[in-house]
């Protein structure tokens, strides 16, 4: 049955495949290594762009400066907070929206009306100004909820989840019903455990989205102390026009300090990278294959 695994051509293919995949993997990791090398380098070498993958004039000053910067650690805490809170809101609202909408029209009268009601918002939104006015009137300015509530229900994700729920064999649900489970128990004991792969994927999208989002952090906050990390990094990374500011040489060198920028970018990326390995184990498909016999 597995005869073709032994052929010579297959082995050659495997070797090249591994080399190819390794190269792609390298492409992904090299920028991170470069950033890390810059962060550990001397300032002059960084200004001259002399650093490739290994630090020049090794120093940890940039990391010390970043980690002892209270603004930075505060922004990091806000980002972690909004990501976790955002994830909780997202899961709660998206699951509770998707579950009923995955039922048939017989089980849920008027389901299609609700569905179109949600889908409409995917294509038409109020736009920036009305959303801003809404946040102002809700008194959410300077509140972490201004960052979390607008994305609490993501219709696109809900539709994905609806389709995933629909794909779960009806027999499993029936078996639970026979054992006396109600709607919520079926959701908790049957649907959610079986949907872990898609929930993990959607959670990852949501967390990365929250982690990277900077514009809302800027417009819904009146004080920089409330900025999440992405907004802070955006300010740091965007190139200043040096002919447009009063030139105090000390400030110029500070503002353009590439090593500190690199350290901040690196530290800013690490927490979200740490999420991946923990979610990896859920990225396995075919869980329901073989659940229904006969």
């Amino acid at each position: 049955m597995y005869m073709h695994y032994d052929t010579k051509m297959y082995k050659v293919f495997t070797v090249f495949n591994i080399i190819f995949v390794t190269l792609i993997g390298m492409l992904c990791i090299l920028p991170m290594i470069h950033i890390l090398a810059v962060a550990f380098s001397g300032k002059a070498a960084a200004t001259a762009n002399l650093i490739n993958l290994w630090p020049v004039n090794f120093t940890a000053d940039a990391f010390v400066e970043t980690l002892t910067n209270r603004n930075f650690s505060h922004a990091l805490a806000i980002s972690v907070g909004r990501t976790l809170l955002g994830l909780a809101f997202f899961l709660f609202f998206t699951i509770l929206t998707a579950y009923p909408l995955s039922k048939s029209e017989q089980d849920f009268k008027g389901k299609n009306i609700y569905l179109w009601f949600f889908v409409f918002t995917m294509f038409f939104s109020g736009g920036l100004v009305p959303t801003y006015i809404l946040m102002t009137r809700l008194k959410l300015i300077n509140s972490i909820f201004a960052l979390v509530l607008p994305g609490a229900l993501n219709v696109w994700s809900a539709i994905l989840l609806i389709n995933f729920f629909k794909g779960i064999p009806k027999e499993l649900e029936e078996s639970a019903t026979i054992d006396g489970a109600g709607r919520f128990m079926t959701l908790l004991k049957i649907f959610l455990p079986l949907s872990l792969p898609s929930l993990a994927t959607l959670s990852l999208f949501t967390m990365v989205g929250h982690w990277n989002s900077w514009f809302d952090g800027m417009i819904y906050n009146t004080k920089m102390e409330n900025y999440p990390l992405a907004t802070l990094l955006q300010i740091i990374v965007v190139q200043q026009d040096f002919s447009k500011i009063t030139a105090d040489p000390h400030d110029l060198a500070d503002i353009s300090n590439r090593t500190v920028k690199a350290a901040q970018i690196f530290i800013g990326a690490v927490p979200i990278l740490l999420v991946y390995p923990f979610l990896q184990k859920y990225f396995v498909s075919g869980i329901v294959v073989g659940a229904v016999k006969g």
Partner: protein
């Protein structure tokens, strides 16, 4: 089942809570100002105005990464705001702050206007973005306030600037106060690797001919001298902005025209610089520089960062940039390459026998005053006080060494004054006034005075010269000696209707066309002619008419 019901109940309760939060109504404001009075409660204290009870100013500002605060202080509560409260009875309340990047302040103010929120009483915004706000009719004319409150020192400082109000005048009334910058500090000098000059046995170039000879000598220097197999004579940013801070606009100017600004031609008419015939000759020159490898081959794609990287890594010998370019970033080459030395030199004269360079403008930001502002006069009262007492302080006066002991400087135990970050407990803080009281000529005048070997004596000279080095002083002296060659962009108004519609397209064509000429993809004559005909057939003529009309209307001569 029970737990599920609880869950549902909790979620419903949550939803109601959110809805309830929305019912607050727009009118009530939990942070109502404690005091909001007008000019009537003002009296005099120490010869200047004092408000008792204090008044609150509801304002806003952008805060850049260069703004530093003492531990526990922020933009609303620091030594400067405390001083304003004690000295003037003015409570500065920054309703919101934004970063300086990405037009953040503009975005926020536009959102505020759309949402019908209270506008800041006054605020600083880049001049280019001010026009739209002025034309919205929401801003207040200020010439009366300036006339009334500005004293002699302030008026003298403004008088140094040519056409200070021109851009912000509407029907004879001025709608913005420009935050004047120091003059000349962004003007270009020529930066050369002194060690290469010495190795080549040459003098600093005084003419374009000399410059070509020096560049030629530099690229033929032995790699044992330069440390690289291949080096370039000249590095510059020629990506799209030909007047940027590490560009070649003074070389263009040596031919008698500067691209991308509005200037007068020989007949005295205002024209778009890039359409002048001198530009064609200059482009031919630069093409030659690329062909001969004086320029790096990718110069047409390089921005300022790429341009200085070549210099700071030691692979280019000459560049042209502002007075501060040695302090940052060019001096890094001395750290990266053993034996490297950088010197500042005057811009060499072009074929015209002299040169021109594009000035940076007299200001970048302007202060706008909302029509709803209750106390716009406070801005003028405090700024005038600062011009009288802070801009050029007397010996022995309150501001002799800076704003405040322990804030932006420290008097040490032995009586000496230090401005060094590490000496000041809690670090050196930024002194954030509504508008810094700038005397435009002050900085470079002091620097060129010190460049002649004078010691700093007056408090202003001592304060300003902190951290200066000899090479900056040289550069300052050079820009002072060549200041009559600076030309300013004559058009400073709001984009005209045809500009809004066509200018982006014209500029894109200009840049790609010039780059084709530089790289020999199109012939010089053919390429420049096609640019001229594109300009005149795609709105350039109308734009020129509009610019001339604006200049006439605004009262330019």
């Amino acid at each position: 089942m029970l737990s599920c019901r609880k869950l549902l109940a909790a979620s419903l309760a949550g939803a109601m809570l959110i809805a309830a939060a929305g019912c607050g109504g727009a009118g009530e404001n939990p942070e109502a100002p404690e005091v909001a009075l007008t000019e009537e409660n003002s009296s005099l204290k120490n010869g200047h105005v004092f408000y008792d009870p204090p008044i609150q100013l509801n304002i806003a500002r952008s805060v850049g990464p260069d703004a530093k605060f003492k531990p526990g202080q922020d933009v609303n509560k620091n030594d400067v705001t405390d001083w304003m409260l004690e000295e003037f009875g003015v409570k500065a309340n920054y309703m919101w702050t934004t970063p300086t990047t990405d037009n953040a302040f503009y975005t926020k103010i536009m959102l505020s206007i759309s949402a019908g929120e209270e506008l800041p009483e006054f605020f600083s915004i880049p001049g280019a973005q001010a026009h739209e706000l002025i034309d919205s009719g929401l801003m207040m004319p200020i010439d009366g306030l300036f006339e009334k409150h500005a004293g002699a020192k302030w008026k003298n400082a403004v008088a140094e600037v040519q056409d200070p109000w021109l851009a912000y005048t509407r029907e004879g009334q001025v709608y913005a106060y420009p935050n004047f910058d120091y003059a000349y500090e962004h003007e270009d000098v020529m930066w050369i690797r002194d060690d290469w000059l010495e190795a080549a046995g040459m003098e600093a170039p005084k003419t374009l001919e000399d410059l070509r000879a020096v560049m030629d000598a530099f690229i033929h220097l032995d790699s044992s001298v330069t440390g690289f197999d291949k080096v370039y004579g000249f590095t510059a940013a020629l990506q799209s902005n030909y007047t940027t801070w590490l560009g070649v606009n003074p070389v263009f100017g040596g031919f008698g025209a500067i691209p991308q600004i509005w200037m007068k031609d020989e007949a005295g008419d205002i024209v778009y610089g890039s359409t002048m015939p001198q530009i064609k000759t200059a482009l031919a020159e630069f093409k030659d520089w690329i062909d001969k490898s004086y320029f790096p081959p990718e110069v047409g794609l390089m921005n300022e960062v790429a341009a200085y990287e070549l210099f700071t890594s030691g692979r280019a010998g000459i560049t042209m940039g502002a007075t501060w370019c040695y302090d940052w970033p060019l001096q890094d080459v001395e750290k990266n390459v053993p034996g490297a030395k950088v010197g500042a030199y005057p811009i060499p004269n072009g074929p015209t026998g002299s040169f021109l360079q594009s000035g940076n403008g007299t200001h970048y930001q302007v202060v706008l005053f909302s029509k709803a502002s209750k106390n716009p006069q406070v801005f003028f009262e405090i700024t005038d006080y600062l011009y009288d007492n802070y801009a050029e302080p007397e010996k022995g006066s309150q501001f002799e060494y800076g704003f405040k002991d322990g804030f932006d400087y420290i008097v040490k135990d032995d009586g000496t004054v230090s401005y060094i970050e590490d000496d000041i407990p809690g670090g050196k803080a930024s002194v954030l006034f509504f508008s810094a009281p700038m005397i435009p000529s002050q900085k470079i005048a002091i620097a060129s005075y010190l460049a002649e070997g004078n010691e700093p004596e007056t408090p202003a000279q001592i304060q300003k010269s902190v951290g200066w080095n000899q090479i900056f002083l040289d550069a300052a002296r050079i820009v002072m000696s060549q200041k009559e060659y600076t030309v300013y962009d004559l058009f400073t108004g709001a984009p005209t209707p045809t500009m809004v519609e066509k200018l982006a397209d014209l500029k894109a064509f200009e840049v790609s066309n010039f780059s084709n000429i530089l790289y020999g993809k199109t012939g010089l004559d053919e390429g420049f002619d096609s640019w001229l005909s594109y300009w005149s057939s795609n709105g350039g003529v109308q734009i020129t008419e509009e610019v001339r009309q604006w200049y006439k209307d605004a009262g330019g001569e």
